[in-house]
């Protein structure tokens, strides 16, 4: 799979990941990898933040959309 964004720019770069939101193949240059906090617990137990976080990979477009809320 090739990086979709690179392809639009006329380059031919291999994708190294897929955006979890839109499914776009992205290269290292066009991905954003974040560590997402995970909470466990609901009634009747208080929710606790787990020590381990879950990695999330987004393309730049989806990342910016998330940042805008």
């Amino acid at each position: 799979m090739k990086c979709y964004i690179c392809k639009q720019l006329g380059k031919d770069t291999d994708a190294v990941a897929i955006c979890i939101v839109c499914g776009m193949g992205v290269c290292m240059e066009h991905l954003v990898r974040e560590e997402i906090e995970v909470w466990k617990g609901d009634y009747p137990f208080p929710a606790k933040k787990l020590k381990k976080k879950i990695p999330r990979i987004l393309c730049v477009t989806c990342y910016e959309a998330y940042q805008e809320g």
Binding site: W39, G41, D42, Y43, P44, F45, P46, A47
Partner: protein, 242 residues
Amino acid sequence: MLLKRCLAEVVGTYILVFFGAGSAAINLMIAHGAAKPNPFNIGIGTLGGLGDWLAIGMAFAIAIAAVIYSLGRVSGAHINPAVTIALWSIGKFPAKDVVPYIVAQLIGATLASLSFLACVGPNAALIGGLGATAPFPGISYGQAILTEAIGTFLLMLVIMGIAVDERAPPGFAGLIIGLTVGGIITTIGNITGSSLNPARTFGPYVGDSLMGIDLWFYFPIYVVGPIIGAVFAAWLYKYLSS
């Protein structure tokens, strides 16, 4: 952080007692002066029969659902010392948090009754009793404890099945537990007042005391009955599901 969780318990129990017990007080005030059909009727049921109790049960149900969905992830939204003790008894709640939670629940209930008194005025206590619970005419102390134990047994059994059990479907706890309490109140409301919760009785008792009404003789009913019922339900469910 324990302080924040305790504050959530204060707020949750406040909502429960203000709106739940408050609905019982308002019902008594609405029915005040109406002819009561029999000595077993203290006023609740005079206007709409068992429908009066269903209305009170629904006030509790909605308040409980609101608290569970809004504060459940913060403190666990026990809003009931019997639930806290039952969860501790089966190792699902840390021992060091039990007393702070119970103190918070009692504070929340007391603040609710006092603010209800401030909102409605002296008749909220003198006529409505601030929605306090007491055995109804002809109901003995022992019968009242047994009734409260059975009612709280059902409440805790549902909590275990719909919320504590990890196999339970997510998202239903508030709705089902609220409706369960509403159903229990409809049935046993005219026997003991259907407290199911020592804090729910404690708050109105404090408020009534300030107005010269002493009901503390009955308080052990609403401590012993709910705790026995809740602990038994928790252990039984633990055994059945193991």
